[in-house]
């Protein structure tokens, strides 16, 4: 398997605080990987660094989108990272609250469409076609995510679990090859978590999108992941299959006394 994301020696300093400490990580094509670690380990910071929201102090982030050439992406703006096929969700849900559910997903199509000011004003056949395609595609994604009954609801009126799924739908609309999920199951009940589990598997199997998720729900992590990376104090302390991680004494030590609830 060829890696689609390679992170080498990634380091992030916030003043005196080293949030990421020489981190190495690789994601293979078609893989569901998980990034776990105690609170404050630097997991979200890792996402922010590879998606261009923070500029890492040092290190390299290299992507190899399927069918495209390898490219170093550190220093790129977030929108350019997304354009290149890496989309994400946020730990503290960041939807566009007063836009409808459909429009939220339509925003995801922005970077895959072209029509500009003139197109908007004259609304020629090209623009109309593109607009219709955006609507169709967005609706299709909502159906896949089981959100089609909410199409015209405002995002902020959605139940919590649906909001989390809408974030994933929005990310999918950007046609990514890799989706980064930051605690997708946080605040979900067991039923919703189970559905999420199935959904993530479907995204990988049917859409061929690889996923990297940060998650505190160990059951979900163990059942989903092909590979797990464990972080503590900004360092990677272990990586391996769920079996290996479960029995790794270093990991157990890192978690001892720590809370690992969802």
């Amino acid at each position: 398997m060829e890696p689609i994301l390679e992170v080498k020696d990634l380091t992030m300093d916030f003043g005196g605080l080293r949030a990421l400490d020489h981190l190495d990580l690789e994601i293979d094509r078609g893989e569901i990987a998980a990034l776990i670690g105690p609170n404050g380990a630097g997991k979200t910071t890792f996402f922010n660094c590879i998606t261009g929201i923070y500029i890492p102090t040092r290190g390299d982030v290299v992507i190899s989108p399927p069918g495209k050439k390898r490219e170093r992406i550190n220093g790129l703006k977030p929108n350019h990272v997304t354009e290149r096929g890496m989309a994400r969700t946020f730990q503290n849900i960041r939807l566009f609250p007063s836009m409808t559910v459909l429009e939220n997903v339509m925003i995801g199509r922005h970077c895959r469409t072209r029509s500009g000011i003139a197109g908007a004003v004259f609304r020629g056949p090209g623009t109309r076609e593109e607009e219709q395609a955006v609507v169709d595609k967005s609706y299709e994604i909502l159906e896949k995510m089981g959100l089609s009954r909410f199409v015209n609801e405002l995002a902020r009126n959605l139940p919590y679990g649906a909001q989390r799924r809408l974030e994933i739908a929005r990310a999918m609309a950007t046609e990514p090859f890799l989706i980064l999920l930051d605690e997708p199951a946080a605040g979900m009940n067991p039923q919703e978590t189970y559905e999420l589990d199935q959904l993530i598997l479907r995204i990988r199997d049917e859409e061929g999108i690889s996923l990297l998720l940060i998650e505190h729900d160990m059951q979900l992590v163990m059942s989903l992941s092909d590979r797990i990376f464990v972080m503590d104090y900004g360092k990677k302390i272990a990586q391996g299959t769920p079996e290996e991680i479960k029995n790794n004494p270093v990991v157990i030590k890192a978690y001892l006394g720590e809370e690992i609830d969802a």
């Binding site: 977030p78 997304t82 836009m99 429009e103 607009e131």
Partner: protein, 420 residues
Amino acid sequence: MKIQDIKESFFIAAWFILLTFPIMVIQVNPIENIIEWRWWNLILVGAGSFMLSFVWRYLMNRKAGQKRKESEDAEDIPLTQRLLRNPRFFVPALIVLGVFVFAFPFLFSAYQINIMTTALIYVVLGLGLNIVVGLAGLLDLGYVAFYAVGAYSYALLNHHFGLGFWTVLPVGAFMGAMFGVLLGFPVLRLRGDYLAIVTLGFGEIIRLILENWNAFSFGPSGIANIPRPGFFGVDFSLEASSRYLYFLMIAMALFTIFVVNRLQNSRIGRAWIALREDEIACQAMGIDKTKTKLTAFALGATWAGMVGVMFAAKTTFINPASFTFLESAIILSIVVLGGMGSIVGVIIGALVLILLPEYLRAFSEYRMLLFGAIMVIMMVFRPQGIISGVRRTYQFKGKGDKAVKTRETVKQPAPTTDHS
């Protein structure tokens, strides 16, 4: 309201005192060869920026509190919107309105027509600013600068080169857009109260340039004898001329409504709204923040530039006094009062705020006081404005079917902007 907020506002005030110190406090008196220290200005700048920042923070805090309440009692469509979108009410209303608009200049005196034309100018200004503030969520307090740019474009091009109204109209719009981008660049990184104060400064800079650069703009005495718009070389009587201006302004307003309506339901319009709702998520979804902000500034300013040309042609005389901060404040009030992001709201806002003071001449002394009071009351009781923005909705047939978009229906209000 936390101590923290007061501290930050205080810090901002100190910062602006420092920044404006050289121009606001120090004045060289070349006649007596001394330096005058205008300490009074320092106090004004300090107090002004402190108040602005403080009120801003207060309203933001309030809004945060309100959001929590709002999410609980959501789903009810306001009456105004149900009426607006109900065809049985809407179509006859539109016809009556159309007839009234057409008959107006033949029923009323030239004085009334002039007032209505002015109100229409503000409708267009409001719709333009609505792009920047209502849709993209960028609080611009210097919008009047673009209006001035348009007006002076016509006055100067006509004065020096004899260019006519119809030639300069697109030039004015273009100049507005250019200045929009020009202002957009330096403020790309600013948000909320910082953006507000800097744009306010920009507006004042333009006005001060016009006031002081005599060789260029003829200073405070302004430019007179600006020709009115031509109509195939026909000479109008004064009465007919105001009618003509009125219909021109109606056409311009309709054009603006048409374009703004199309823009707000387009790919770009959605990007503006996404930017207003959540800047980080917006970028993470692949939207170029820089480009989106600049198009908002440019397209907003275009209308001000265009209608500025119209203003110069209407009054036939302009000077910098027509482009004070007060104008920006009025235009912003129109947007806020009418409803950010709502075209109908902005139109109503403009008519109310411009026509009411004209007909309530007795109160004209208290105009500003009234404005202030209305704004505060609106912020507290109806922050989304008279009519709140409506999101377009789509109908889909059948589950799993190919999606079919059929018609627009009514949806819930969009809340006001979030700048911080």
